[in-house]
Symmetry: D2
Subunit: 464 residues, 4 copies
């Protein structure tokens, strides 16, 4: 049962359009630009005003939505979803959007985030006779809306949303409207844009640039937006007590060309790198970053430190799902995958290796070893965030406490484990100041979470 | 007929192993690391000392060589190939290695490069009764070897190779030996490495790093290397009059982590960017590079100019073969693909955009427009190579003369066409000095080619 | 909405096993032998006593259940389903078995038949807050069981089954038991067999022969069978007022090697043919049957009439889903598909063509034309069943009344339309006597149905 | 090397059209109707008068030639091929038609039959410098034609054909003509038809019926037919000394609706069955045939003996390539595949089981066992051909001598091995008289072959 807590709504990407004749095409390019947020599965539901039609599957956007499939998807409104690969879980059923047909109309749901009271809510709903067909948290909202006594869809949504705890950005599509909702702490990013007379909604603003839309504003915590043929209407279903956007969106999850609450992600990362250069004044010959997410920080570090930035590590671009991982024996013989060191750059050099975070430490150890084998005389690891000591209950897959190397090890212990010549984490203040905002969820660093956490959830993360 | 000149052996990647029990696995990782050199098709032939077994197909390495397929490929020697996507041409038959069975044994061939006298040779061979089953230049070598009067395989190979004109790096695998040959000018890169007692050969040294092999040396122009169970033997089948490695390998074709003739590609590109910063002293706010091949040059430019490097353009990583290109109407509405500008970085800024070369000019125009639409106040285009005024006959797909924008237009005319505020090309001397070598083929820049060019070849490139 | 009435549970095939270590393999061969009952989709759910695991897909058994998929399916109990191709409807969601997970356990359902009150029941359930995820009738049973107040699974099933009207054969699998239910009129065939200590259930006895099981008995109308680790238990959830097995199962639907209620289908058909020979004493040179379902009747006709049986029509065996139907223009030029006449057999002959039934008449007309073009001097059509004048509400796809040629045309009118020299239908008495039983549903012939028919259902069939 | 003797041109099907705008579509339906002659691979080459375009692949016609593929194939002439599944051999390269491009034009070849001197010819050709890319016999003809000194294509073909020994029916397509050739003994069937102004050629006349063509005549032994825009021209390239059509084409290979040399195959088989009834007067209750090839003979047997024909064995129609064969352990438990007995028909009965031939005897033993397990009290096996004592060198896969059960066992010994109550083979005279012709190749029965047999061929069949 607890497997359901971890849930299948972890960090994902969502995109929606209302009022555009190319709704499905725009959604295709929109979710494609969010592909970095989830490669396990993807789906789209399109409305032509009379019926909802959905297609989904396990795979990448360009694999599931072939030209032939796209031909079948036409309408003026659509929502799409890309889903993060969670080990073990999954299956076709859990790919979103979820689509429900009833004799009074249809409903499609796309969700980014993680609820912390999904198990409790499911217990209650099943006791009342509901049958769940997915193991996804997302379905809970549909059942709550169905059972709500209100007749107006807006009231049904507000009533249902008010029962959810945790992180969620929801898109709700019916034949007649697109509803958009964000949890009361605004834990997940969600923005509104326009494209002529049409409205678009996306997890990240990079999707707006790709489809040629203009950014209007970010969705507010606790806001329910109703978009229909009469216009766009905003309601507040909850009062936000603590605004708390997930810091990890800046650190590594979002695309560098996205802006979150007005801050460009690449610039934020570069600033993290600059601050790190000040906090970690190391003598070295070259600065390098772990591709792709740490390149911006590495460039910032190089700029601030005056040490030249070099491409010391390279990422293999063609590692898809069918790629065969090297066997243990081949790895021991030195066969690499995904990342390889650039010998011509690091040989005989003192290298500063910038990474965005350390979770289990195994990847860091592998990269340090790789750089040393390629001839680096020293490897100094600098991390553009503080140690992650606590699990995330809101959808970032930092796993259980036991697996977090920083949960019970000191920086020096970690340094020894990864084999670095020195190891520096950015300070909490340094990180917050570098971004230049102060309304973050920092739970994974500090253990202080914006919402209450349910016992069943804690149990999962701490006892696994 | 002329379609055969352009040929199907354009820039590709080749990899070979002799004397290792995991020959096929190593070849898998080897050609996978060379995937950037060709995404159209790939193949592998493995020898167990008694028979040669081959698998090939149209697609990426990880698509063609599934776990199931790899199980069937075992042996102590192997050669592999990745093939560049040439418009129109192609088909399964032309995917390499080519594999020939005869009653006296088998022969597999993998080729990187382009012959300039293939058509003449085919005419002669067909007149003598040979039947060609592919439209590939590569097959010519097999027929020449078959018809050579010599009994020793080494002599047959030398005799046949001496008739070829143009650019070629060949791997020739039989049940008893692996032969490796490079054209007399050394136009294409080809290196030798070792892995314990085994030998490996690859188009680029990055493949050695990926399989854990050690670099020994580059293959010499006009050299025939014979590797068999008795050891490794070198013969010269031609005297090299002009050493002439293709400059484009440094400029944009090779992977940044490869070394060509002892020079690291990333470092070479960074030096090109530094030199460019000296030759083009522009006032601007940010430097950005066109991903992926111009990033190193952009970083070099930023370092030398003191103008900060920023990620002003981002490349979508998930654009595979099934990706649906936006329709003209969607493009006009602003839907982008592959590249998108980072508004948060370029808005209100004077941008220096570094690119490696200009071929037709259409991509440059598109990027300049994109940056301006994203708010750049000025866009200065700087190119880390001189104008390409002439076709390449040796396998780089710079197309026919007519399509080369610089073949009949001045720099100022090009600037206007692409809509840039300024346009600077690196000087020829600047380029050569930045790499720090002086034995290049510069044919596409200067019109001086290291080999004679056959009339039929000229006809194709100039009259098409 | 009415699309849901026609439903997606039309004539299908189901198979189940309890108590055998090779449960999934046996189910594979079981549903494979029932493939003629449905080619649109197939699925299987396996229980290992702790969890239920399901795989399903659109396609044939051998396509969906690859060796790789089968490896993942192990357990001691399983149910499987093959689904009939209904035009338009369908989709992955509706492929069975349906699998439901809840916090108190899992439930899988496989259904053969068609409910006549599904729409009404869905209305009521949705009004109470249930959400349906499929458009399948089958799901209704799950919701009814979930909402039943009883704690015992057997009581929940009996209570829920008692609300269903129409034709149904259900397999219900949980972690701890396999339940088997047949509607109170026994409209669909369903038999019980044994395989060592294990029990098997199947729509047709041919599945028992294929897996090496022994036939025990047919499931009784209104019977609920509970099979678990303690044994096998029978309950009656309804009193059967009219036993009424569907006549069409004998006429054309079932496999000739199956026995239904003790009567072999091939023998039944041969007897229909013999009786027809008596009722239609025609002078002719050869008797031929329309493959595959009319071969037995044709052989019976030949035997009784003394006119030799010949293979006058041949069926192309390789017409799968990817087969390209000839264009109208090619058809007019004489290109045939599926069936072709055997010129060498029919040329210059008076032919008796035996078919099992006439629905729309278009196929009959095409075959008569084909035989005449191949040189038949006369074509006498004899049908081994009476005219179908009324729709089937219980799952046989005889379509709406309007499309039934016999609903408003006389035999003579039909003869003219199909271009036959004579046309004879078997009499109702002849048919019933030939089978030698008298407890049939003859609704499609007589318009007398064993169950009440709901207005919404009538509306669908008569107004479409 | 000897593997090449057995060759890959075993019994196949070929089809060609000249002068029809729907040439590729007609070829599609043509080879589809010949699918029973080969399921391993299929291909088609189409000519638009200027170029030849080919598509081929491993799989069924409807799998390889999808609607998308067919769109690309247009022209006024085409040839197609279906290829028999030979264990082990094969691969994409060997799928036909073979297509050769040269600077003077293209050539496509489709072949049905087996050469007996292919190895010798290949030796000679390789010694002269030819390179073979397939292991198919078919390629030999292309090399012989290429090397022939004649300038006229007709003379080149005649010269080359005159060097071939064995069984062959060839279709040769160039941009300007379709050539059709049959070996001097006419071992394989090949017929000519017309479709308006167009000509069609096919291995079997059933293909004519399917595409609406009219049969003109059979191709004559030693005939070369040239079809081009000027008309149709016949030449004799060899004098036929012995006409010898393969008897097995009548016995089991061809489709029952085909006519070979004026004799309908179904009728021929029925006559074999009638004759067998006279030669084997057995007391029994039912006659049954092994589907599909023995049904006609069984019906003939029933008609002549007065014992009723029944469907005692049924063939599963959905056993495609992805079907999972039951494991040994499941087989022992009684799981069946492909064929199952009809218990309701054979239980308690004395059964006469008609089969067309016995090769290894294993299938016969399995069927006898199956019938007895299903309750048959006696099983009398009657075979509608004499014992096969010798290998076929001309393409019928009766395998090596050692594997032929009748090569060293008496009828009584075979009877015991297969477990039958009696076993009767049709006499040689009976067989020949039943077909009513006397120009057969009876090599597999008598050991007398119409052509000389080369030592290397004998060696393969007798020493394997």
């Amino acid at each position: 049962m607890l497997a359901e807590i971890k849930g299948l709504n972890e960090e994902c990407g969502i995109f929606g359009v209302w009022g555009h004749p190319d709704a499905s095409q725009l959604t295709y390019y929109g979710i494609h630009s969010l592909q970095h947020r989830g490669q396990e599965g993807t789906g789209m539901v399109v409305s032509d005003g009379k019926t909802l039609k959905g297609v989904k599957g396990e795979g990448l956007v360009a694999e599931i939505f072939t030209a032939e499939v796209m031909k079948e998807l036409s309408g003026n409104a659509a929502i799409g979803h890309v889903r993060y690969a969670t080990a073990g879980g999954g299956g076709y059923e859990n790919v979103q959007p979820l689509l429900f047909h009833s004799q009074t109309g249809s409903l499609a749901l796309a969700h980014n985030g993680n609820l912390v009271n999904a198990t409790s809510l499911k217990h209650q709903l099943e006791a009342q006779g509901s049958i769940f067909q997915t193991s996804s948290d997302t379905e809970v909202l549909a059942h709550l809306m169905k059972r709500s006594g209100f007749t107006d869809s807006k009231d049904r949504a507000k009533n249902a949303l008010s029962m959810l705890k945790g992180a969620y950005a929801y898109l709700i599509l019916t034949e007649t409207e697109l509803m958009v909702a964000l949890d009361p702490h605004g834990l997940r990013p969600l923005s509104l844009g326009s494209l002529g007379d049409a409205y678009v909604v996306a997890s990240e603003t990079c999707a707006f640039d790709v489809v040629g839309a203009e950014y209007i504003r970010d969705i507010m915590p606790g806001e329910l937006l109703i978009i229909n043929d009469k216009g766009i209407f905003s309601e507040q279903f909850a009062v936000s007590t603590t605004k708390a956007i997930c810091m990890m969106e800046y650190i590594y999850f979002s695309r560098p060309d996205s802006n979150i609450q007005g801050v460009n992600v690449h610039t934020a990362r570069k600033n993290l790198g600059k601050r790190l250069a000040i906090e970690a004044p190391i003598e070295a010959d070259v600065v390098t970053g772990v591709p792709d997410s740490s390149i911006s920080a590495a460039i910032g570090f190089a700029e601030a430190s005056g040490i030249p930035y070099e491409m010391g590590l390279i990422k293999n671009r063609y590692v898809g799902r069918t790629f065969i991982q090297p066997s243990q024996s081949l790895r021991e013989q030195g066969v690499k995958m995904k990342l390889s060191p650039v010998r011509g750059v690091v040989e005989g050099k003192r290298v500063i290796m910038v990474d965005d975070s350390i979770v289990r430490g195994t990847t860091s150890r592998r990269i340090v070893t790789m750089l040393k084998e390629a001839g680096a005389t020293e490897v100094h690891v600098v991390i553009s965030s503080p140690p992650i000591k606590n699990p995330c209950f809101y959808g970032i897959d930092t796993s259980t406490t036991e697996e977090l190397i920083a949960s019970d090890k000191s920086v020096e212990e970690i340094r020894q484990l990864i084999g670095a010549d020195s190891l520096t984490f950015l300070s909490l203040e340094g990180m917050v100041e570098a971004i230049g905002k102060n309304e973050f969820c920092l739970g994974c660093f500090t253990g202080n979470y914006p919402t209450e956490i349910y016992p069943e959830t804690l149990q999962y993360y701490y006892q696994k």
